[in-house]
């Protein structure tokens, strides 16, 4: 029960850490080289001792994990798409297709496409460690906090399972573990960061689809990678979460996607709901005053 000041929007990071402040660390998940091996899911579970999730068969491609949640802090999405490619729909010459294939090969663009035009998109999803993190802002106990690395972590000894962060997250990352009662999510391996180690998922990733490092350096790397992929013909490739002016102030874990975010089950323009809290409080205040006026009118506005 240490002293806490009133927490306003913007949690004061990194100034609050003084000399202990660290550069902001994060992930860059380059989905163009993801091979869907799920080593990240397994490494995360093992290191963080996350309980087993559903063992069922979903029939949804090779994805039996489905979504991030209390027991899934990395989730590899498998998306099957039928997309016409170049020559197949007659828009490109065979020379163009060959040149593009060579470029794609050279830069390691992994989108599996068989003869009938089916392609697989694979992407390892994770907590975005938002700059404006709704989960942290609405947490009434202070269990969610921003670490010296700028990441967002739940303290299991504080969380009382109120569940407010669950619908507050614009990505559906957090959930309550039913037999435990508390909320859990990716910690960006806070314990490993303290020991100068990279997070378990990044270390386990065999293709470097998951890269860990200082966020500023990752942004640069992501930008360069995007240019190369665009050159290789991936014209739908885009960065997701790199814009500090987006609705959550940019992600601490950014992505390179090969299609629209919703294709992967991600929100196309996520927003921190707390950015509207001023307007919401104003409405709640006005409603409270209206109730007061109604009560006065009811009591004094007629016979006793």
């Amino acid at each position: 029960m240490t002293g806490h000041a009133i927490t306003l929007r913007g949690d004061g990071w990194p100034a609050t850490y003084g000399a202990e402040a660290q550069p902001r660390m994060g992930f860059f998940t380059d989905t163009s080289v993801c091979i869907g091996c799920k080593a990240c899911e397994v490494a995360c579970k093992e290191w963080n001792r996350v309980p087993a999730s559903s063992q069922g068969f979903t029939g949804e491609s090779y994805d039996n994990t489905r979504a991030l949640g209390a027991d899934t802090w990395r989730h590899v999405a498998f998306v099957e798409q039928r997309k016409p490619v170049g020559a197949a729909d007659g828009t490109e010459s065979l020379v163009d297709v060959a040149a593009r294939a060579e470029a794609a090969d050279r830069w390691g663009l992994q989108t599996y496409q068989d003869g009938d035009g089916m392609r697989w998109l694979m992407a390892s999803d994770v907590c975005k460690h938002c700059t404006h993190a709704a989960c942290l802002e609405v947490c009434p106990t202070g269990a969610l906090f921003r670490t010296e690395f700028g990441t967002v972590v739940v303290q299991p000894d504080i969380c009382n399972g109120c569940g407010y962060c669950v619908p507050a997250c614009p990505f559906g990352v957090l959930d309550r573990r039913e037999d435990d009662g508390r909320v859990w999510k990716c910690t960006l391996c806070y314990d490993r960061l303290k020991d100068d180690k990279e997070p378990a998922c990044a270390q386990a990733c065999p293709t470097d689809s998951i890269q860990f490092g200082e966020l500023d350096a990752l942004r640069e790397r992501a930008g360069a990678r995007l240019e190369r992929l665009r050159d290789a013909g991936a014209d739908q490739a885009r960065l997701y979460g790199e814009d500090p002016d987006d609705g959550v102030g940019g992600f601490g874990a950014l992505f390179l996607l090969l299609d629209e975010p919703e294709t992967y089950g991600l929100p196309p323009a996520p927003e921190d709901p707390v950015r509207d809290v001023g307007e919401t409080w104003a409405a709640a205040g006005a409603a409270a005053l209206a109730l007061g006026a109604a009560l006065v009118a009811a009591v004094f506005g007629g016979r006793r």
Partner: protein, 331 residues
């Protein structure tokens, strides 16, 4: 082979014209119809608390004002209702926690970005004040500061009735977040209907005129405000037009209208009409909370609710192709 393979954009959701899917209104924008956000973990205690907190908050105000007007009978009974609501509310909230023994962690800090944090303090203050006010009544007015405590309860009761709307509006659930301007008015109207209804039923008709006025006004305001709130949601209003939210909404309207009629027609003369009307109004207010609560679950589960408005904002901003950025219309 290819016919059996599920493809993106072909997962059928309930037909909901108006919300953009890929190429059909019933097609999911996400793979396999998966929701983008999580449904709340909250269970039945929460809508019941929304009702009980509103009832208690409005009853405390009614009590103090009736006391000022010299209506001691109404004041005492309304104080008792406020105390009952204040007693039951923390129990409901604690029971919904994943770790109920840690309920005091709610008071570790105070933060205005968290309506739940603000609400925990408001409820704590309200409960203390309502308790002290009731003790003072029981001691025949001999508790020092008893009247001040009842004033405090009356004042804290106002935000107690409206903050719960701010709480659910400050989530990523589209049907809740997009109704943030009107939802608090829906909630305080329901609080008026329930408190007015309860005191119409519990106080002798001769002393209950203010309660009847409050009950009728609250019921009408609730019906009108909730309808306007739903219309204001546009395409998202379908969360209120099917399933449990729809059923509860229809039930709420019927009970509120019938209750208001019973109170208006016979509440002043017949105790039986007053009790029936008051009960109907309270069932109606509870059902209205339940309708809002359930609509949020339906909205969170539908990926079109999450993706549709975001795509619309991107299109309005002219940045539809790249994604990720949505400067928002303000004002």
């Amino acid at each position: 082979m290819s016919a059996a393979r599920p493809e993106l954009g072909t997962t059928r959701l309930a037909e909901r014209p108006g919300l953009p899917g890929r190429d059909r209104p019933d097609a999911s924008p996400t793979p396999y119809g998966r929701p983008v956000i999580k449904q709340p973990t909250w269970t039945w205690e929460i809508p019941v608390y929304f009702y009980a907190g509103g009832l208690a908050g409005a009853a405390a105000g009614l009590a103090r004002l009736a006391e000022l007007r010299g209506n001691a009978v109404l004041a005492r009974r309304a104080s008792a209702v406020a105390l009952a609501g204040a007693a039951v509310s923390p129990a409901l909230l604690t029971s919904d926690l994943g770790r109920p023994e840690r309920f005091l962690h709610m008071l570790r800090l105070f933060k205005v970005t968290s309506p739940m944090s603000v609400g925990s303090w408001v409820l704590t203050g309200f409960g203390t004040a309502a308790g002290a006010g009731a003790v003072d009544h029981a001691l025949g007015g001999r508790l020092p500061g008893g009247r001040a405590a009842r004033t405090a309860a009356a004042l804290l009761g106002l935000p107690l009735a409206s903050y719960t709307a701010a709480l659910i509006a400050t989530t990523a659930v589209p049907a809740w977040h997009e109704s943030r301007r009107l939802l608090p008015f829906v909630f305080v109207a329901g609080a008026s209907a329930s408190a007015g209804g309860a005191l119409t039923a519990l106080a002798p008709p001769a002393a209950a005129a203010p309660a009847r006025r409050l009950a009728i006004a609250g019921a009408l305001a609730e019906i009108v405000a909730k309808d306007r709130m739903e219309r204001g949601l546009g395409d998202l209003a379908d969360a209120y037009r099917s399933g449990p939210a729809h059923a509860a909404g229809i039930g709420a309207q019927a009970c509120l209208a019938a209750g208001a009629l019973a109170v208006a027609a016979g509440g002043a003369e017949s105790r039986r009409a007053a009790v029936a009307g008051g009960a109907l109004l309270n069932i109606g207010a509870l059902l209205a909370r339940l309708s809002v609560f359930k609509a949020g679950f339906a909205s969170a589960a539908d990926p079109r609710h999450t993706v549709g408005p975001q795509r619309a904002r991107l299109a309005a901003a002219g940045g539809g192709a790249t994604g990720g950025r949505a400067p928002r219309p303000r004002g």
